[in-house]
């Protein structure tokens, strides 16, 4: 192991570079001063205490929960069926379809946001939470499809065949054999899709109109120095929520698949 000392040290320095900025928000959210700088003046929880009293914040949180929940449901139900068809069946246009559903991952945010705004307005849908839900479903779909694909990859088809042979119909087999087997994958997909939506800013910024989601609310607060400590506290809670959600998602994903990445 001695030979890789250089590489190992580099990796540790790199990890510090990855973690420090993220850990900074929680650190300074407990700072008694209003300026984000060293030395830290003292420790306090008051910035957290003030959050619950802000009505616009609570409303933005509600908006985010509704948007995230519905986007997760929509993305996962489409992703579930698409992933099953990719893993289980061979058909013409499969490669094209698989590539297409991955496209939302790589399209620049500003282009998705501006083009969806123009599309929705043209179709008569004003900027609103509905528009954000439709947009977030689009963004979350690739995550859902890839999670469900690895869940179906490790699913033994002979179990379904056994159910058919024992007289179950298509729907009964799906409900009583397929669904329970891939349930951890579904939970993982729901949680990841929810988090993608919960953290997304640019699209919500363009499409939410006068119903801000939590990141849009934070954006509006960032420019006020007086609000900085509260924004830090809110941001820290958001970080904690995302990490917790995704740790749980990872736990379920690992139960649904044997693959490493």
């Amino acid at each position: 192991m001695k030979r890789f000392l250089g590489l190992r040290t580099y990796t540790l320095v790199y990890l510090a570079f990855l973690y420090l900025p993220v850990l900074l928000l929680p650190l300074f959210s407990f700072n008694d001063g209003t300026i984000v700088a060293f030395p830290i003046k003292g420790w306090t929880l008051k910035w957290y205490g003030q959050l619950g009293a802000q009505d616009t914040l609570v409303q933005a949180l509600m908006n985010s929960l509704v948007v995230g929940g519905l986007a997760a449901l929509l993305a996962t139900s489409m992703g579930l069926f698409a992933a099953r068809s990719y893993v289980r069946y061979r058909f013409r246009g499969k490669k094209v379809s698989e590539a297409l559903v991955m496209l939302p991952l790589v399209v620049p945010g500003i282009i998705v946001a501006s083009s969806m705004l123009v599309l929705f307005i043209s179709l008569g849908l004003k900027p609103s939470l509905t528009a954000v839900i439709l947009g977030h479903t689009f963004l979350a779909l690739p995550f859902s499809v890839s999670i469900m694909k690895s869940a179906f990859d490790d699913f033994d088809v002979s179990l379904e065949e056994a159910a058919y042979d024992l007289g179950s119909g298509v729907f009964e087999t799906f409900r009583r054999v397929t669904l329970p087997m891939v349930a951890p994958g579904i939970v993982a997909s729901l949680l990841v899709s929810f988090t993608v939506s919960f953290d997304e800013f640019v699209l919500a910024f363009f499409l939410s109109g006068n119903e801000p989601t939590l990141p849009v609310y934070i954006w509006s607060q960032i420019r006020f120095p007086a609000k900085l400590p509260n924004t830090l506290a809110l941001g820290s809670l958001l970080l904690l929520a995302s990490v917790l959600l995704l740790v749980v998602a990872e736990f379920f994903r690992r139960r649904s698949t044997k693959s490493l990445v």
């Binding site: 900025p21 297409l100 399209v107 945010g109 500003i110 083009s115 123009v118 499809v145 970080l239 995302s242």
Partner: protein
């Protein structure tokens, strides 16, 4: 059509996702093209088809400047991120024992909101920020450093941080796939460790490097949050200008034109990159 055949089942099951994404990719494109040929006259939109917006976008020095800067910044970010990430992917794939744990450690910070991570960098690099105050408290500097925030450097640093795992994972996957016997063969034939890295490992990971580069480059060109928060006036990018057209300037047709041109530029640069990188990968082998 026989509904019970394998093929039709596959098509039916994948249809909702395919149609949904297909519609939300194709329809906005068509509408953007239509919009780009209209003109904004104060509050109303003149619907006579014209190429005036394209003329304006092409010959406006600001648009050209921001477009070139966006592509250059994205290119620098891509190169820096991939170069910094390669040793990490190499270490995890070939040298580390607890690969899963390492991968998890790398990805955890990125399960947090992108907006908040950029915001954290703004707080670190500011004039009265974390880095300056820490350096001053340690007695390393007397006056705050001013070159940290509100320039291209801040944008590149923030984005290189934001995209790190997207560089590590594809390269890790391509390193995992390398057959160890190839490296043994290279050593048996008298190559030094460095030579066999250059002649075996590196060429075999070119697909991973290409994938990582595209995943980073394409979204970075159109990034809005980072240039807005840490870019200042020297670090603005094309997305900021597009947002202004859809917001304060209220000139949607011009905004649509810029979106289309940005998309075309990104596509063109990405295509040239893939072709040249593939060629280069073959040559060093």
């Amino acid at each position: 059509m026989n509904l019970h055949s394998e093929a039709s089942k596959g098509i039916m099951l994948s249809a909702p996702a395919t149609l949904y994404v297909g519609f939300l990719v194709a329809a906005p494109l068509v509408i953007l093209v239509v919009y780009s040929m209209w003109t904004q006259t104060y509050v109303s939109i003149e619907k006579t088809p014209t190429l005036a917006n394209y003329r304006e976008a092409f010959f406006d020095p600001l648009v050209r400047h921001l477009m070139i800067r966006s592509i250059l910044i994205a290119a620098v970010v891509t190169i820096a991120t991939v170069a910094l990430a390669y040793p990490i992917a190499y270490f995890i794939a070939l040298k580390a024992r607890r690969k899963t744990l390492w991968l998890l450690l790398i990805t955890i910070p990125f399960w947090s909101s992108y907006l908040l991570r950029v915001f954290a960098w703004k707080l670190i690099l500011g004039f009265n920020g974390v880095l300056n105050s820490a350096l001053m408290a340690l007695g390393l500097i007397d006056t705050p450093l001013t070159f940290l925030l509100y320039n291209e450097f801040a944008v590149v640093l923030t984005l290189a941080h934001a995209w790190a795992p997207f560089a590590i994972l594809p390269i890790f996957v391509s390193l995992q796939k390398i057959d160890p016997s190839l490296l043994e063969a290279a050593t048996d034939l008298g190559n030094s460790a460095f030579e066999s890295f250059l002649r075996v490992t590196l060429p075999l990971t070119v697909p991973g490097i290409i994938a990582a580069s595209l995943i980073i480059f394409i979204p970075t060109v159109g990034d809005y949050v980072t240039p807005s928060l840490v870019g200042g006036s020297d670090g603005k990018m094309i997305a900021n200008l597009i947002q202004v057209q859809f917001g304060a300037a209220n000139n949607w047709p011009l905004g649509a034109t810029m979106s289309l041109l940005a998309m075309l530029s990104v596509g063109f640069v990405a295509l040239v990159f893939v072709i040249s990188a593939t060629g280069l990968g073959r040559r060093i082998r």
